[in-house]
Symmetry: none
Subunit: 217 residues, 2 copies
């Protein structure tokens, strides 16, 4: 269990903060904007109103003892840089900051931030890579040209079993293995190939990328 | 080779446009802002100044014949929705739109957009999942709080079997299932729990997120 401070509760920062909390860590979520702080109540350990460029505030909150910091401030570039410099002076072991543009990113690297993220452009590149494989809702590469993909069950699969559809093994019709099925919020690993699929089910399929690309849409 | 129109050349849109062009597709990149259009010269097939809520403009540019559209407009929600509705009326086979908040996303789904992306919050969730474990290289969500992660075998696991390590089943020590092992460029699904792991192996682990989080780093 680690202690993390997340500064800036926009879409990126609140996403990081909530997820870290759900993963079991202690999350201090800070923002100058009261409404944003309020909306994090119950979703993080400790939502607090404050300005991260204020060294006293950070010290009073015990930030120097934290394991990591995520600076998710967006458009206020000087503020973002100043907060990162303060965190560096406090010797926070691991600092991640999001950059708004190229120059912002270079500046953050120069001041010693451990990891710089450009969330929008990184997601843009990711989208470009799976735009024409719409069934590959999510993709995780296992090896070059071999991966795992999450596929929403199309209408024509409903009420049929994996065996009937040709998914009983990688030697069957589609050349893919179904490693798991998600139904509602439950995940069944190594599913029964005679079970009938239902509308809304998601299949976790593993196999060669070119075979994943041939799934029906 | 496909024809794609990317509307909105902010960080997300320009990332998508450039990558698609680099992947070999024909990219029409549109924005109302001339400077942004100019900066895409040479990075996409055809950067054009225009307003995507103008049906005439879209038709004159041949957009109805395109294979896909990406609406990467950010803060102008009505504009984003209107552009998507126009694209739907033109029967574009595949439309992806980025949403600025939850309600925007729901609206886009309701009007029939094929895929809605929340780039910042999705990157935030991703960051949270690998913040403390550089070994957890990739993460794929199977269900809320349940996922699959690719983990590089740390030195202390080398020469030990999955059984010895506590990975023989989700009821074992780590509470995780090893769905596959990658060794070199080969992937073995449903691996033998008595096989000894080697340096450089990658494990595909499935289970509750908080348990994935407890893996050694
Ligand atoms: N010095 C600061 N201390 C604390 N919070 C700050 C500071 N400066 C900015 N913030 C907060 O950071 C948050 C994110 O910044 P902003 O909204 O400018 O970025 P954004 O690019 O829209 O973010 P996102 O893309 O993550 O939604 C805002 O809620 C803002 O109030
Ligand atoms: N109707 C429209 N037609 C074409 N382009 C548009 C239209 N409306 C907005 N845009 C453009 O969309 C781009 C992205 O929008 P905006 O800058 O509001 O979003 P953003 O959230 O900052 O984007 P990003 O996070 O991708 O950087 C802008 O360059 C803007 O000029």
């Amino acid at each position: 269990k680690k202690q993390v401070v997340v500064i800036g509760l926009g879409r990126f920062g609140s996403g990081v903060a909530r997820s870290l909390y759900n993963l079991g860590h202690d999350v201090l979520a800070m923002d100058v904007n009261d409404d944003r702080v309020q909306s994090m109540m119950g979703q993080v350990t400790y939502p607090v109103s404050g300005n991260a460029t204020n060294e006293t505030v950070l010290k009073e909150l015990g930030v120097p003892d934290y394991d990591a910091a995520v600076v998710a401030v967006g458009s206020d570039i000087p503020g973002s840089v100043m907060a990162c410099v303060l965190l560096k002076t406090m010797d926070i072991p691991y600092i991640v900051a999001r950059a708004t543009n190229e120059l912002h990113g270079i500046t953050l690297e120069r001041i010693g931030v451990d990891k710089v993220i450009h969330p929008e452009s990184e997601m843009g590149v990711r989208l470009a890579h799976n735009l024409f494989n719409p069934n590959l809702q999510e993709y995780l590469e296992m090896a070059p040209n071999f991966g795992l993909s999450r596929m929403k069950v199309p209408p024509q699969f409903v009420d049929k079993s994996l065996k009937e559809l040709g998914f009983s093994s990688p030697r069957d019709k589609y050349g893919l293995a179904v490693l798991a099925i998600r139904r509602g919020n439950d995940v069944t690993l190594n599913p029964d190939i005679d079970d009938r699929l239902r509308s809304g089910d998601m299949l976790m399929l593993a196999g060669r990328d070119e075979l994943l690309e041939r799934l029906p849409s």
